[in-house]
Structure formats: C-alpha cells, structure tokens
Amino acid sequence: MHGLDLSPGAVSPDTERADRVIDTTGLYCPVPIVRTGEAIRGMRTGERLEILSDDRVILIDLPAWCRAHGHLYEGAREEDGVWRLRVVKAERTAR
C-alpha cells in the first residue's frame, strides 16, 4: 500500500464509539474534507468523528488537515474498499 504510515494509532476505530459518522463515499477529495470541516464545527471538544470514504487520497489529506487544525487523527482502516477514518476534535482549532 505505497508504504503509507497510517499511525499514530492504526487504532482499531471500533474500540471507541464515534459521536458522529459522516458518509462521503462516492465523493473525491477535497469534498470529503469540506464535509469533515462542516461536521466537526458542530461538535464539542473531545468528541469523535468517523468519516467513511472510498477515495484513498483522504489518507493523505485528512492527516494534513488534522495537523493544520490541531485535531487528533486516530487512524484509518479499510473494509470492502471503504476507509473508516477517525478524528477527535481538539479544543483549539486555530493558532
């Protein structure tokens, strides 16, 4: 898989319940990132968002988006061609 490092975590996202799940399958990045931003704006600090996507580019774009915003990217795993990625909302989203 291109030597992609899916850590930190490579967590099993099912071990913790997601507070919200959004399905972006069929959409290409950056649209899933736009939807992620919209979803996380309505969530509270510490809440966990799960994103479903079938665009592999999200494995690159979502960690970058999280790094830029300070959210915690927990990792991703694949099930039948659909990636399930998890993000925990950080307290501060801007410098």
Binding site: H2, L4, Y28, C29, P30, V31, I33, V34, G37, D55, R56, V57, L59, I60, D61, P63, A64, W65, R67, A68, H69, G70, T93, A94, R95
Partner: protein
C-alpha cells in the same frame, strides 16, 4: 476592524499551496500574526480530476491537496471551501472577460477575495492577504488590476499582498502598525528567483511546480471545448456535470445541437458510465470499445454517424462493417456501419 488590545492580529489568506501563497503566509507568521488559510475547491482543478480517474495502484500522495499540505507544513489551519454553483455561474459569464483561454483570472480573484472577506466578517479577522506578485501575470496582477480587484471586493485598504507590498500603496494593516512594512517584501515580475531563495532560506521545498499550471480553465484543449459549449448552449442552462464531462475523452461536435464524447481508455469508460443518465450511450459489444455519450437529440442519420465514430475507436476498426449498440434508458438500437475515415473526423473534433 480595530482589534481588542492584547489580542493577536488575525489574517485570512488565500492558500493554493503554491510557493507564492505559502511564502506570503510565512512572511506574516514571521511577524507573529495569526494566519488562517482558505483553499477554494473550484471544480476546475486538474489535480482533483486526476483523483477521479486514478488507477487503484496509483500512489495517493501524488494527488494530495496542496492547500492542506501547505497548511500542515506552516502549522496554520486551512479551511477548504466549496466554491460551488456561484463559481460556475461566474466562470460562464465573467464580468471582466477571459484571458488567453477560458481563464477569467480577474473575476476568479474577486470571487475568492470576496469569499475571504465574507469569512473574515463571519469568523473574525483583521485583514485579508494573498500571494499575488505585482507584474507576475499579465491579466490579473498588474498594478491597475490589483487596485481594481481590491476596490470591487469592498475591502479597500484591508487587502495585503505581502510579497509585493513595498511596491504598493501602504495598506491599513501597515498604517495601523499591525504589520511592519519594512519586513514585507518588494518582489515584482515573472522571475521567481527571489521566491526560490526565500523558500530555501525557510526550508520550504515541498511545493508544486509551476504555479498556475493546474487549472483546466487555463488549458488550451479544455478552453476549446468550454467555449464551444457556452456558444452552443445558453450559459445559464449549463450544469456542473456538463463542465465535468468537458475534462474527459475525445469531443466531437457533429451537428449544431449534438456533441459526442468518446472515451479514450478503460478508466474514462468507467468515468463516462457514471454520467450516462438520460443520454444516449453507444458502444461495440464483445470487444475493446469506447463508451460514447451523446449530448443533444441525434436524428437517425446522426445516430449512424455516432455509431460509425464509435466503431472507429473500437478494436474492430479494421473491419468493413461493425455492429454498434445504442442505448438510452429502455431504448436499444443496433446499427451496422463502416468505421468513419480519420480524415472526416477532424472536421468535427473539438
């Protein structure tokens, strides 16, 4: 637009992820200013389109979003905004016209800076900045254009171009002491030497090359199809999906009201199949064949011509007669035709 005492100044910038916008953000970060980047998804980015056609074994890092990558490298939040329908309407009827191809550069800048100004009003911010460089681009970055863009965006004085600021009139952020003019830059012209030197100094090496090279609207082939579309259809009736289809396949206008799109490979076949909808679809069954989608209402004779073009691009192109299947919803028709001669094709090609 006066910040509370003790609060850090906050700048809202347009970040494409290219070198200029990255440097502009870095210049402000060096002055201790909070920076938020906005990255517009316009629907005309070649990189976004590459994702839609990517093979499963293609490395996704080659298709990353450069705005997000720049934000992560700079440590600034990036908001990815969908420019949506409003952008499409602007592209089809730009107030300031097109550049060499289908690029409405001035209106595009105005659209995005307007968006940044709206974002600033809604989410807080003290001024807007861009990575524009005086004299770098003939249509949108000469002195008169830079001033006009600022005026039309309704934020006169509150739009800073950190890379060329020393060539431009003093902005409000400079006058108010939020930004030190001496530490802004005086870059102008098309040479990128100074930018390259700065990128080296700040260790910024991971950026796309060259700037402006990833927009379909500035691509000659796309522009030819785009202008054909807007001259044959009323611009207000053109939908986003029709713009997406301009990016794929071989295009032929075979009658004033009929245009066809012929896929070039398996990934384009798959892509076109997603957009079949209520269109006619032609293909040669049981052999390597392109899918041909039809825009418009072809009559009997035109359908035979479409079949003949489809046959020409199939694996049976050397045979004297080829059976082509045409489908539209429940309708199905079989047409046996000779593959069209290459010389004839050129008259219709877009």
């Amino acid at each position: 637009m006066t910040p509370d005492p003790g609060r850090r100044i906050r700048a809202i910038g347009l970040i494409s992820g290219g070198l200029d916008s990255t440097l502009a953000a870095r210049v402000l970060l060096e002055q201790g200013i909070d920076v938020v980047g906005l990255h517009f998804s316009t629907g005309f980015c070649m990189n976004d389109h590459r994702r839609a056609l990517a093979r499963p074994d293609e490395d996704p890092r080659r298709m990353r979003n450069e705005g997000l990558r720049a934000g992560a490298d700079l440590g600034i939040p990036i908001e990815v905004l969908d420019a949506g329908e409003a952008y499409l309407r602007m592209v089809l009827k730009p107030k300031h016209g097109y550049g060499r191809f289908a690029n409405p550069c001035i209106d595009c800048r105005i659209f995005m800076i307007h968006g940044a100004a709206d974002y600033m009003r809604e989410h807080g911010g003290d001024f807007v900045f861009t990575g524009e460089v005086l004299g770098q681009r003939p249509m949108s970055q000469h002195m008169q254009a830079l001033r006009m863009i600022e005026r039309e965006c309704g934020i006169e004085g509150f739009l800073l171009r950190p890379l060329s600021a020393q060539h431009l009139p003093e902005s409000e952020p400079e006058k108010r002491g939020w930004v030190d003019r001496e530490r802004l830059l005086g870059i102008s012209g098309r040479s990128r030497k100074e930018q390259m030197a700065l990128s080296e100094r700040w260790g910024l090496s991971d950026f796309p090359q060259p700037s402006g090279g990833c927009c379909f609207l500035a691509d000659e082939n796309f522009a030819r199809r785009f202008h054909d579309k807007r001259t044959h259809d009323a611009p207000e009736s053109i939908r986003k999906e029709e713009m997406i289809l301009l990016k794929v396949g071989r295009h032929f206008r075979i009658a004033p009201g009929v245009k066809i799109i012929v896929a070039r490979d398996a990934s384009e076949n798959e892509f076109l199949a997603r957009y079949e909808g209520a269109r006619w679809r032609f293909e040669v069954l049981d052999c390597g064949s392109p899918i041909t989608l039809v825009e418009g209402e072809p009559d009997d004779e035109t359908r035979r011509l479409i079949a003949s073009i489809t046959a020409r691009y199939s694996d049976r192109r050397a045979e004297p007669l080829v059976e082509v299947t045409a489908r539209r919803g429940p309708l199905e028709e079989r047409l046996t035709v000779p593959p069209v001669a290459d010389a004839a094709l050129e008259a219709w090609r877009l």
